[in-house]
């Protein structure tokens, strides 16, 4: 049949040489469309076409708006409009008329109207709403054609929001008497399922009915839905397997009516679909797989190779067999089938054969061996697609021995092909391979084994990467240079190898820079400048000025981008020592001193300064440091002191831009918004105040400009897209394959191969350019390509051990960053900014210099500053790690830590007394316990690991006392006893802790008084329990305690006094504290005064830092209340945070962390969104709405209190980073 068609088509002249007579026969010469087309074909230039179409469109516009246009004419107009749109000219004026035509037209007109609507509009177009009514009407029509048209349009484009309106009607059609209607209804529902799965959930049993429909066509249509659902959740549909197998069996067995045959193959498309579904179902499930073995066997057997479509079925069969639980018989047959594909002269089949081989080669590398000659032929195939597919196959069978040949083949291909996307992908693969096997042995194979082990060919790696960078250009995946630099920087197991590798890189880059550099991609130049900056010190005999001058010459080139110049300047900063350095730096500073680009200007200036001050340079850029200990404090908490100083001197607190905006607008207009609704929980009146308060004084630097944006930028750092390439065991994705390969049982291979293999081994990595016969050449290539896959492997084991995978394992780092790209941020230790550049919060270009992206730059700033503040805590640094530092599940860690806290504060309490105190006396438990035990009071069981039973009994009583609301004093005259013995082993009380109190914090102590505190998280306030212990052997008199805080409110009397405190006695004082004004953190201060027996008065001051998190409590809300409240709150913040991607369910894991650490109430999680609520004591509500997408969590906080969202956001960030 196709021959017929082709003949007829060939027989017809193409349009341009169109004979008018022929045309006249086919179309009415008077038709306006005909005229349009004819005049278009006469045109010669695009410009003329444009003019003509414009004219046409104007004419059309006139006609559509004329009231006299009949719907028949309208139909004709629509066809012309469709034609214009197809050519890429917008005819938006006709859209509304298309809808009208669909509504008013009859038969053909209606159909054209619908067609035009489908072609013109998209799902989110506003005009579609106007179509809904028409669709509704047509769905209810008795005219089958109208119904069909309506169903078709519904399945093509339909606004998501309007689905409920038509859903019942479409559902009804599932029981329609005509199969075509049922079929279209099923597909329409499938479409609904795709765009709004929730809305069709209730009709799953109807889908089931469609699957069992007596008409095979309807059944086939329903498979679309099931295919999708199985793909999403194979486990949920395993029980379908039996039915699908039964269907397939009948189809294969020819039970379908003969009109389902296509070239005498029964329903081939149906078979393909079924086989694909079976593959999904049987994957990794033995029992399910067993059900399908028989039918798969039958399919293979029945497939007589008489037509292309049989191959399509066979191909699916093979794929299914290799996907499901293996059965050796079937695998054998499938392997034979693959052979038929690979050896087929038809190019399409060959292509699929290669695809199948690629798919199965990891399971069965022998197959590749069997077809090695074919594969070699395909490598030189004229069709680039076949070539590429072959390379893909080779990529999968790469091992330490054949890597250089394969990489060379890939590079050859890259040099020929100029197709963008292919290049990018392939470059990535070459880089992966090169990094996986950085030291190939083939080149040095003639060297004795011992030598060979110590003389790896690191040149190969660098050379390959050089080619990759030059060929890949600037479009390649950013992780390629990142990974490369990271590999160089972190090194391998052996320091000597690292050194040689780096040295080689330095050498090769220096010589490259000597040549003409203008053709080199920017990325490559960046890599070069970084490596030179970092490692050129390794080259001992290098003249210091040489590198600098090479680098400086880059700065003069016009083609070099600003970004690259930034990298170059950064490298120069590292090298600018000595007299020569000063000179060059001075020149550069002069050159860029007037640059319009402030980044470059600043960098040049810094270079100048650094070159003059050797001491400063070695402090800012300490040479030869390792990357491992580098930590990043994204919250800039080390600046807190600076900020509070500034605030104390009267600086205005920082406000995020949106808040400023809001306040500005509030000053101008009346407040028309409601002041908020009553809350379901008792929230104090303060919740409604502060709306207009212009300065909710506050905000440490944690919220200042950069830090609010930084963490997520740094954290999200494109890590989602980055493949995890390296793991502890070396290269991750391919590891398995590489290891499996040698272990496979090897089929007998002709002796010639062995000989050839043995021979090639002595040659250079790729076939030597010797005059060889073509066959010989191929065989030789084959043996070098497939080395390590089959029996040759044994040979090579004799020759030299393949130690690469073990030896060149990458150094395990204490903190293994998640992806590739973040490496750059770590590397920033070499780029430092001076403190003042941060302090005046000007952009800090030094930080930006190293980056490939601007976003990284900000990250770098932080990193850079950190060097200045080595002690700063580094939440981001930790956040970046995938592996928890403890190597534990965070939850466990947390609970463990709490446990530890619990135990230590008991221990501390006791120990504190111990060393200072007297000999332990036997005491009545009542006497000693209250102060030591009350922090632990709520866990009577703690004692089980410790002391005598009466202690336990007492502790339960102590609990009761702790609950007492009033500040209580418990003077004792006995010192704590046996502190050491009572100190429990650190982990013994793991499960026993409850989360309601903090550990005991030691506040202050002098010779005679020891003051410690504990936070109790009570519902209405934060209760501070202050323990004053007399550590001296004298009595203390007039002990009094004052508590004060500028920022927090102490609810009950802030002063407590105790007339007498016996020797080694203790008293407890309790205070409730709330935070009226949201602050990131606040300080409670105070002093204890007392008189010793000798009469001298003493004062012991203390201060305690409390954070916002201490004052947060869950706010139990229903989703509905939440919705109401949300609308009534008017202070909000929106930001992206990082998701905990290492968890199975990142969203809920993240939300649970927040819930746990910040006392949120988790209201609901709906799909990718979650809502949480909390309140700040005393009763300021704050609502949080999160949306997870592509690795980040967009958080939106709302509250009636101005600064609360900001402060809370800060804590959310910290919690997620510190996890």
């Amino acid at each position: 049949m196709s021959d017929v068609v082709e003949k007829t088509l060939i027989a017809l002249p193409s349009l341009l040489s169109l004979d008018s007579q022929l045309g006249a026969g086919k179309l009415s010469s008077t038709s306006k469309l005909g005229n349009l087309i004819r005049s278009i074909t006469e045109l010669t230039s695009k410009h003329e076409e444009e003019k003509l179409i414009k004219k046409e469109l104007t004419a059309l516009k006139e006609q559509v708006s004329s009231p006299n246009t009949t719907s028949r004419q309208m139909k004709e107009i629509m066809v012309r409009a469709i034609y214009c749109e197809m050519l890429g000219y917008e005819a938006s004026f006709s859209y509304i008329h298309a809808i009208k035509l669909a509504q008013q037209g009859n038969g053909l007109e209606k159909r054209v109207g619908y067609l035009a609507v489908c072609l013109f509009l998209n799902e989110s177009h506003d005009l579609l709403l106007l179509l809904v009514n028409t669709v509704l009407k047509d769905l209810q029509s008795t005219n089958l054609i109208d119904v069909c048209m309506a169903l078709t349009v519904v399945s093509q484009i339909f606004p998501k929001d309007m689905i409920p309106a038509v859903l019942p009607l479409v559902e009804d059609k599932l029981t329609h008497s005509k199969e075509i209607i049922r079929r279209k209804a099923v597909l329409a529902l499938y479409k609904f399922y795709l765009i709004a799965p929730n809305q069709v959930q209730h009709i799953h049993d109807k889908f089931r009915k469609a699957l069992c429909d007596k008409d095979p066509g309807v059944m086939t249509a329903s498979l679309h839905i099931y295919f999708q659902m199985i793909k999403e959740n194979p486990d949920g549909f395993r029980e379908l397997t039996a039915s699908l197998v039964a269907i397939l069996k009948q189809v294969v067995g020819g039970k379908l009516p003969v009109e389902f045959n296509y070239h005498s193959v029964p329903a081939p498309w149906l078979q393909i679909k079924l086989l694909r579904m079976l593959a999904l179902l049987g994957k990794e499930d033995q029992s399910t797989s067993e059900m399908m073995f028989e039918v798969l066997d039958e399919s293979l057997r029945r497939a007589e190779l008489n037509h292309n479509i049989t191959y399509a079925i066979l191909f699916e069969c093979v794929k299914t067999i290799y996907t499901i639980h293996p059965k050796s018989e079937l695998l054998e047959k499938a392997a034979k089938c693959i052979g038929r594909f690979v050896l087929s002269p038809k190019i399409n089949l060959k292509y699929l054969g290669l695809k199948a081989l690629t798919y199965v080669v990891q399971q069965d590398p022998n197959l590749a061996l069997q077809h090695q000659m074919t594969i070699i032929e395909c490598l030189d195939h004229p069709d680039p697609i076949i070539k590429r597919e072959t390379l893909e196959l080779l990529y999968r069978i790469t091992n330490g021995q054949n890597v250089s040949v394969i990489v060379q083949k890939m590079l050859d291909f890259l040099q020929q092909s100029k197709h963008g996307h292919t290049t990018i992908v392939l470059v990535g693969k070459v880089a992966e391979l090169a990094e996986k096997y950085p030291f190939t042995h083939i080149a040095v194979v003639s060297v004795p084994i011992r030598l060979c082990t110590y003389a790896p060919d690191n040149g190969w790696f660098i050379q390959t990467m050089n080619t990759v960078f030059s060929l890949g250009g600037d479009d390649m995946q950013p992780e390629v240079p990142n990974n490369f630099l990271r590999l160089l920087a972190e090194g391998f197991d052996s320091a000597e190898e690292d050194r040689q590798l780096r040295l080689y890189a330095v050498d090769s880059y220096l010589s490259l820079l000597q040549t003409d550099t203008c053709h080199l991609p920017q990325r490559f130049l960046q890599v070069m400048s970084w490596v030179l900056g970092e490692f050129s010190f390794l080259k001992a005999d290098l003249e210091p000025g040489l590198v600098l001058s090479r680098l400086a010459s880059l700065l003069d080139q016009d083609l070099v981008t600003t970004e690259t110049k930034s990298w170059v300047l950064a490298a120069m900063c590292k090298l600018c020592g000595g007299v020569v350095g000063e000179g060059v730096a001075g020149q550069v500073a002069a050159q860029f001193g007037g640059s319009l680009n402030t980044t470059l200007r600043q960098q040049a200036q810094e270079l100048h300064v650094l070159s003059l001050d050797q001491a400063l340079r070695s402090r800012v850029l300490p040479p030869h440091t390792s990357w491992d200990g580098l930590e990043v404090d994204s919250s800039l908490s080390f600046l807190d002191g600076f900020v509070s100083d500034a605030l104390a001197q009267g600086a205005a607190p920082y406000k995020p831009p949106h808040q400023r905006q809001e306040e500005l607008s509030q000053e101008k207009v009346l407040n028309l918004e409601p002041y908020g609704l009553a809350l379901p929980v008792s929230l104090s009146t303060c919740s409604l105040m502060d709306r207009q308060s212009p300065t909710g004084f506050s905000l440490s630097s944690g919220l200042s400009g950069n830090s609010a944006e930084l963490p997520h930028k740094g954290g999200s750092l494109k890590m989602d897209g980055v493949k995890r390439v390296w793991g502890k065991e070396g290269y991750l994705p391919q590891k398995e394959a590489a290891e499996e390969a040698p272990a496979m049982p090897s089929p007998p291979v002709p002796l010639t191969y062995r000989v050839a293999a043995a021979r090639t081994r002595r040659w250079t990595p790729w076939p030597a350019p010797r005059p060889l016969g073509p066959d010989q050449e191929k065989q030789q290539l084959a043996s070098s390509l497939f080395v390590g896959l089959g029996p040759q492997n044994q040979l090579c084991l004799l020759g030299k051990p393949d130690v690469a995978p073990q030896r060149f394992r990458r150094k395990t780092r204490p903190q293994d960053p998640e992806g590739g790209s973040d490496w750059l941020s770590v590397s920033s230790h070499s780029s430092h900014s001076t403190m003042d550049s941060l302090l005046d919060s000007s952009p800090t270009p030094l930080g930006e210099e190293l980056n490939t992206t601007a976003l990284l730059g900000e990250e770098l700033n932080t990193a850079g500053f950190l060097r200045e503040e080595p002690n700063a805590i580094s939440p981001l640094g930790e956040g970046l790690n995938t592996a928890d530092p403890m190597g534990e599940d965070p939850n466990t860690t947390r609970s463990l830590r709490e446990t530890a806290n619990g135990t230590t504060h008991l221990g501390e309490g006791l120990n504190a007394a111990g060393p200072l105190g007297e000999e332990p006396n036997p005491v009545s438990p009542q006497g000693k316990e209250p102060n030591t035990a009350s922090p632990m009071g709520e866990e009577p069981n703690t004692a089980s690991s410790q002391g005598p039973e009466d202690t336990l009994a007492f502790w339960s009583r102590a609990e009761g006392e702790t609950e007492a609301p009033e500040a209580s004093t418990m003077a004792t005259d006995q010192p704590p006893t046996q502190a050491d013995r009572l100190t429990p082993p650190p982990c013994a009380t793991a499960e026993l802790l409850e989360p309601h109190g903090s550990e005991l914090l030691s506040l202050a102590s002098d010779g005679s008084v020891d003051l410690s505190a504990r936070k109790l998280y009570k519902g209405a306030a934060l209760e501070l329990q202050l323990y004053i212990r007399n550590t001296s052997s004298d009595q203390l008199q007039h002990v009094s305690l004052q508590l004060r805080s500028a920022e927090l409110q102490v609810l009950d009397s802030p002063n407590q006094s105790f007339p007498l405190l016996g020797d080694h006695g203790a008293v407890t004082s309790r205070h409730s504290v709330v935070m009226e004004t949201p602050l990131v953190q606040a300080i409670v201060g105070g002093a204890v005064t007392y008189h010793t027996q000798s009469g001298s008065a003493n004062e012991l001051g203390f201060s305690l830092r409390l954070t916002l998190a201490d004052f947060l409590r869950p706010l139990p809300l229903s989703t509905e209340d939440y919705g109401k409240l949300w609308l009534s709150f008017n202070h909000d913040v929106k930001q992206n945070l990082q998701l905990l991607l290492d968890k199975e369910d990142p969203l809920s894991a993240t939300l649970n962390i927040l819930k746990e650490k910040l006392q949120f109430h988790l209201v609901e999680i709906i799909g990718t969104e979650g809502i949480l609520a909390c309140q700040l004591l005393p009763g300021h509500p704050c609502l949080l709405h999160c949306h997870a997408h592509s690795g980040t969590l967009t958080v939106w906080l709302r509250s009636p209190v101005p600064d609360l969202p900001d402060c809370l956001l800060y804590h959310c960030q910290r919690v997620l980073q510190e996890r």
């Binding site: 049949m1 196709s2 017929v4 068609v5 007829t8 088509l9 060939i10 017809l12 193409s14 349009l15 045309g23 086919k26 179309l27 005909g34 087309i37 629509m78 066809v79 469709i82 749109e85 197809m86 890429g88 038969g107 053909l108 159909r111 054209v112 067609l115 998209n122 008795t142 005219n143 054609i145 078709t152 399945s155 093509q156 075509i180 079929r183 329409a188 499938y190 479409k191 066509g217 295919f227 793909k231 009516p257 009109e259 296509y262 081939p268 498309w269 393909i272 292309n308 399509a312 191909f315 190019i347 399409n348 060959k350 292509y351 004229p382 069709d383 697609i385 590429r388 197709h419 996307h421």
Partner: protein
């Protein structure tokens, strides 16, 4: 899923464009241009599959095409479609066109683009393969044509409708959806 169906001639002039996934107008034109660029470079003796573009839907996307005399038929599909299956579907589509237009040629596609779209709608609906049986497709299309002709036609309409009904039940078109037998709306003739 089928993402798009493109038909253009040897010079890259689009003859039928159908996207099943939304793309902005200029993106559509770019896709057409680049697809043509990719496809037209290829000889007739190379395989009919193209990968490695990233025009539609990123890397999970293939072009499967056939070249008939002056026209390229290109289907852009994702990985859930079988290559050879689609290749034969193109063949089915072209054969159907051939049957409906009696020796189809490029001109038919130009001047009856609406009709071609209607035929395509019976083969692929919303990106999903609806029907692969040529006879079935042809029967559907013919039935629609008859009804529509009769609606737009003159006094002979009822007779035509009746003959349509008769045709529908002919034995040699087996399993022919009995769509016509009851519900043909005998049209109220249009008044002109």
């Amino acid at each position: 899923m089928i993402k798009a169906i493109l038909i253009f001639n040897n010079h890259g002039k689009p003859r039928l464009i159908r996207f099943y996934q939304y793309f902005a107008e200029d993106m559509q034109q770019q896709i057409i241009r680049e697809t043509f660029h990719l496809v037209s470079k290829r000889d007739d003796n190379v395989c009919n599959f193209l990968e490695g573009g990233s025009l539609i839907g990123g890397s999970d996307y293939k072009l499967i095409y056939r070249h008939y005399a002056t026209l390229y038929f290109v289907f852009c599909v994702d990985s859930s479609e079988s290559e050879l299956g689609i290749l034969d579907l193109i063949q089915v589509f072209v054969e159907t066109l051939d049957k409906c237009f009696e020796n189809v040629c490029e001109l038919d596609l130009i001047f009856h683009v609406d009709k071609v779209h209607c035929i395509l709608q019976e083969v692929v609906m919303g990106g999903m393969v609806l029907e692969t049986n040529m006879n079935e497709i042809v029967a559907q299309v013919e039935f629609q044509n008859r009804v529509e002709k009769s609606e737009g036609g003159l006094s002979a309409a009822p007779a035509r409708a009746v003959s349509a009904v008769k045709n529908m039940n002919l034995p040699e078109i087996p399993r022919n959806i009995n769509i016509g037998d009851i519900n043909i709306k005998v049209p109220s003739l249009s008044p002109f």
